[in-house]
Symmetry: none
Subunit: 198 residues, 4 copies
């Protein structure tokens, strides 16, 4: 059948795309935009350099796509928090553990690079601009507010608290790229003192 043939084609195409994107995050996140050669990505994805251009018009487009993807990813991660069970602080703890241990750091790295490095495509820059820390703060704000009302979280401007929390988390993600993740359980305990204040 035509259609099933076409579907198969599409599926293959999508799989290839994923395959490339997967390879690309890894390489980009470790070497930066400029430091990454298309041939490296092709290599990592197990295809020829030429084929990359059947799926992505250019290095820039590939990177931009990746950043877009990474941003969605990180947002969903944040939103998970609300689905966890337990009190607000427990939710926050679970979220923290998830972020620090899960090892999606490549995404954060990518976003960070897009934000801080020069030599990044304008399109990626634009994407990032609309996606400041504020966005994340807004996402978590209700949770922290609730935590304060319950008395689990220290008093003070909740926005500031969230901002501080996110900064620390982000920083740690960046560091995490290379460290061997050890005793994070304890770390989370210590970390959370910052917001529980005890």
């Amino acid at each position: 059948m035509r259609s099933s043939n076409k579907e198969k084609q599409d599926q293959i195409r999508n799989e290839r795309r994923e395959q490339i994107l997967d390879a690309a995050v890894k390489v980009f996140s470790r070497r930066g935009v400029v430091g990454t050669k298309m041939s490296m990505i092709a290599n990592a994805a197990g295809i020829s350099p030429g084929l990359l251009y059947h799926y992505f018009k250019s290095k820039d487009e590939l990177f931009t796509t990746l950043v877009e993807w990474a941003m969605e990813q990180s947002h969903s991660t944040m939103m998970y928090a609300y689905q966890f069970s337990g009190s607000p602080i427990e939710k926050i703890r679970t979220l923290t553990e998830l972020i620090l241990c899960e090892g999606d750091s490549a995404y954060f790295m990518l976003i960070h690079q897009a934000r801080t490095s020069d030599g990044v495509p304008e399109s990626a820059k634009r994407l990032i601009k609309h996606h400041s820390m504020e966005t994340y703060v807004d996402q978590l704000y209700p949770l922290f507010k609730e935590g304060q009302q319950v008395g689990d979280i220290a008093a003070g401007d909740p926005k500031e608290l969230v901002y501080c929390y996110l900064s620390v988390i982000s920083g740690l993600m960046l560091l995490a790229t290379q460290e061997d993740e050890g005793q994070y359980k304890m770390k989370v305990d210590i970390l959370l003192r910052m917001i529980t204040g005890s």
Copy 2:
């Protein structure tokens, strides 16, 4: 006079070197090794590209020199802590403020890049290897220990505490590269709860 002539030459040479190194940290820390073109550094230093090679054999050598320098720099910064007045926790607060606000973040950035990026000269990698977080932990360990004895710092394995503190600080330095430094005073307060536990 011969000697004064020679001295002058030497002085010029040293000044140029500093001038180049200064320009180079800035550029490298923002763009990474690969993303940095020699011409950018030359530009930033206000000299011709060719002249760079009178002072440094190659991009790699320049970068390696810089990493070496950055490591010394960051150690001295840490050691400052012991010269501050006040109780241990006050010293730590001062150090924290110094680090976060002073804007030496370029150095940290550089070290981090050397540690985490591929495409970094082997010589730099080797330098970094002998210079893990442990070194810093050892530097601050006595201060934290003392703080615990005085009762200013929360109980628990002090090594772990220092490690946690340093990780957070390092992470923030990385982030700081680009952010507009705002209300850090408050942040430091919140941050320190992590180690004071109150």
Copy 3:
């Protein structure tokens, strides 16, 4: 078919390599390692400069490959002598004419350059070191010995004779690079008096 496709690719690749090597001997032998620009070779081979680097990692590697090749070539030439018909001295005459007239002088030139010039890659130097005149002497020794037994060749230490013969030949090859080859027939006659002693 896969396989035929692959074979074709390989063939193209090999042809290109030869094409480049051919162009390179010519240029290198006339201009020396340093005097030769990659663009000249590319030009002579009718390809773009960039393509050279698909086939050879660097100028040095290209040169070294060439020297290796030249050494093999020159040895085979010597070994030809034994296949010629006639008495020993006739074989030597034929060999001499072959060498002097055939115009493989580019190879000799190359080897000579590798041996005598500075600014030649270490790898090439090493190759050459194991390939002194002695090697050639040993190759021709039996032929000369036989010639003496037959009475065609003058008495005396045959090694010395061979060495002398080879030196003269080598020297002439070097000169020959540029001269218009004229009446070599006579020259060979005169030349051979050196070893026939009459």
Copy 4:
């Protein structure tokens, strides 16, 4: 006194020039025009690169001067032959030994390079053009002619004989640049058979 002062100045200047020229032959003869950096010559002469330009306008001028010098030198050497004592063939033997053992090969090398390499200043090329092997042949012609009349030298066109002799000698000079001069005495014996025919 003014004048003596000026003379001294001149003398120093000339000494410097010689010093530079001496250094330059050595380097040029081994590395070729393109392979030689002005800084190498300066180094070899023990002066600063800048100072070279007080004595020679450019690399090309320096090289050209050198070629001129080398040509004069080699001609005088040839002319020596006539001053030696003994029969023609003895004179030739002495000349041959002088040339082969004295180790002025750097000059020959230089001339050869000027003749055969590309990348040589036009001025040097022009000099060389008027200075072909013919010139040398003419110089030695009378000596060989006389030798034939005396019966020391084999019959045949003397021009051809001289040409052949000179070619061989020149070739050996080129080779000699690097070899450790060993038992040349014997070689000369063997060599001369070429022209004595016995």
